[in-house]
């Protein structure tokens, strides 16, 4: 009897029922999650998984049936991913990100944030002084498309009008539409992304972004509209500029780890920095979103200057407290 000599066949028929059982449980889990299982089935799972694993080792050493080993490999892999799979629920996880992880990552980058912020301020002050001295400098800092007619040649009345949204260039929602594509989210993206090139492009972008800010303010300040322009800009600008600064900081941290990898290899150092920076960037995208909402709605709805400045100040305080206020409990 040839059949009896085939140990691998006996091996298979003895264990097949267990594999099938594991498979049916897996199908249910993959469809409906762990809730698809009853309590005792849940307890059965790891046992069946280990049995299947030992079957796999066994099959590899005694069986030459490739169909069988392939099946067991796929079964064990599926079971493995369930037994050692993700545990936390997405919503819990999302809350964890906003409560714990993102502020911690941002605080971890405080040096880089400070550097990026200083560069922006430096650019802004420099450009402000230059444009005040000679308005022609304005054209050097501001691309024409972005200025949208707001340049030194425009009348004061027109400039004032742009601050109060009556110019009718965009209605409220297309401004909202524009936010995703505004200059600042692109600057944020590139500041982060180009960081690996030894921080230099990021530094350039930070300074340039500051320059545009300074040039813009100088233009309005020259017509005595400085405060109003600040209100118009800062109502969403606090959030947006903060987001850009954080993106720059994330870029710097990557660039820094490329330049000075420390004890790790360069690739490992970048991976470590990249992990933290990507957490920051995940949040930066949310911040740009909030900025977009403020720009699209709040700026159209809130016209009085004190209210605008109030919202700007409030958002500065909220972000500041959210990121940097000392936390109870676990230390960063």
């Amino acid at each position: 009897m040839a059949e009896l000599q085939l140990k691998s066949h006996r091996f298979r028929s003895e264990r097949e029922a267990d594999w099938r059982r594991l498979e049916t449980l897996l199908v249910r889990v993959e469809k409906r999650g762990a809730r698809g299982l009853k309590r005792d089935e849940l307890l059965e799972m790891p046992v069946l998984y280990r049995q299947a694993l030992s079957s796999l080792s066994m099959a590899r050493s005694i069986s030459l049936d490739q169909g069988l080993t392939d099946y067991l490999e796929s079964l064990c892999t599926r079971a493995y991913f369930f037994v050692y799979g993700t545990r936390s629920r997405p919503l819990e996880r999302l809350a964890g990100f906003f409560i714990e992880e993102w502020p911690r990552a941002v605080r971890g980058l405080w040096r880089e944030t400070l550097a990026a912020g200083l560069m922006t301020v430096l650019g802004a002050v420099g450009a402000f002084v230059l444009v005040r001295r000679d308005p022609d400098w304005f054209y050097a800092f501001m691309p024409e498309a972005l200025a949208g007619g707001r340049d030194p040649a425009a009348s004061t009345a027109f400039l004032q009008e742009t601050l109060h949204g009556k110019a009718g260039v965009h209605d409220s929602l297309s401004t909202l539409a524009a936010f995703l594509f505004t200059h600042n989210s692109q600057v944020a993206l590139f500041a982060f992304a180009l960081g690996f090139a030894l921080c230099l492009p990021t530094a350039g972008l930070m300074i340039y972004n500051g320059c545009m800010l300074g040039a813009f303010l100088a233009l309005f300040a020259a017509r005595g509209l400085g405060l109003e322009a600040s209100g118009w800009l800062l109502i969403h600008g606090v959030t947006e500029l903060f987001a850009v600064t954080l993106a720059g900081a994330a870029g710097f941290s990557i660039g820094w780890s490329v330049t000075f990898p420390g004890e790790l290899t360069r690739v490992d150092a970048v991976a470590v920095a990249g992990r933290r920076a990507s957490v920051v960037m995940g949040g930066v995208i949310v911040m740009l979103f909030v900025a977009g909402l403020l720009e699209g709605f709040a700026r159209q709805l809130v016209q009085p200057l004190p209210a605008r400045l109030g919202i700007a100040a409030l958002s500065a305080v909220v972000w500041g407290v959210y990121f940097y206020a000392p936390r109870r409990g676990r230390r960063a």
Binding site: R93, P143, A177, F289
Partner: protein
């Protein structure tokens, strides 16, 4: 570009020439068993991604249609409700952002560890170190996707909002680099995988197919193979034969049967090609497995003891 972290070793038998990398990676579970995972191929991942994007697009279009229909219904009832394109804009900007992120993150956090697109292609996400796939990792790899593809892609639609062509080109180049990035490392890691410490592997579902040796064994009564006839082949040929038998293709069966009959100088009762091959398979497997039990694995036909 090398993969970050501990590079996974590929099983390579000593003393043999280097074989082309077919994407098999050692993946040792905490129980100490190597699951031998296969890295998801670049083409498969692209296809999965395109599928996912199409699903999200489909959902968005359905949502848009629904909203437009509702508005149309409201206006036809004369509720002083005028059609506005603004809602549509909001759906496509906010909706697409929220939907695509919840879609990717939500599905990858489920036990299947894959979006519908990945599942359709038999792919799933795994932690590179063989440990638990954490939610952080899923989050990070998808946040990076936003940077790799979607934000630069949005530049393309940004014309008219003060974005010059230069930026659009820059965005395209930027995306292009990252879309091609997986081709330049062994484990086909996307930038997001690199940052999150994940990889995408093949995890197809397989069904347990019948043991070919069993029906072959019944046929063996009619055919007896000598020791010399069974010593012709090794494990590799056995597996090829198994594949041939499993995908029943008459012409291949005939070809292989002729080849084997000639090789082993078969003089037995006349059998159909299929029956002959099944019988030979059963006999060869019995032979090789019994030697395996004595610790001798004959790799292929060139492997002489």
């Amino acid at each position: 570009m090398r993969a970050a972290g501990k590079p996974l070793k590929r099983p390579r038998p000593a003393g043999r020439r280097r074989e082309p990398d077919l994407g098999w990676r050692e993946f040792v579970t905490p129980e100490g068993v190597d699951l031998r995972l296969k890295i998801g191929a670049y083409a498969e991942r692209c296809a999965a991604f395109i599928l996912d994007v199409l699903i999200v697009l489909g959902l968005l279009i359905a949502l848009t249609l629904l909203v437009v229909l509702l508005q149309w219904g409201a206006s036809s009832l004369d509720l002083k409700f005028r059609f506005s394109g603004e809602v549509v804009t909001v759906i496509w900007l906010l909706g697409s952002f929220l939907l695509r992120n919840f879609y990717f993150i939500g599905f990858e956090l489920r036990p299947a560890g894959a979006t519908p697109g990945k599942r359709a292609l038999g792919l799933r996400v795994a932690a590179r170190d063989g440990g638990r796939l954490t939610a952080d990792a899923v989050f990070a790899r998808n946040a990076m996707r936003e940077l790799e593809v979607f934000l630069p892609a949005s530049f393309l639609f940004a014309s008219g909002y003060g974005v010059d062509a230069g930026l659009v080109v820059l965005g395209a180049v930027w995306s292009g680099i990252f879309v091609l990035f997986p081709l330049f490392n062994r484990d086909r890691l996307r930038l997001g995988d690199l940052a999150a410490g994940t990889m995408v592997v093949r995890a197809p579902r397989r069904v347990l197919r019948p043991d070919l040796a069993r029906d072959g064994a019944v046929l063996l009564d009619g055919a007896v193979f000598t020791e010399a006839q069974l010593d012709v082949y090794g494990v590799k040929e056995l597996h090829v034969l198994e594949n041939v038998l499993r995908q029943v293709d008459r012409r291949t069966l005939a070809e292989v049967a002729t080849r084997i009959r000639a090789k082993i100088a078969w003089v037995g009762p006349s059998m159909s090609d299929g029956a002959f091959l099944r019988a030979y398979y059963a006999a060869l497997r019995t032979h090789l497995e019994s030697r395996l039990l004595f610790g001798r694995r004959r790799v292929d036909k060139f492997d002489r003891a």
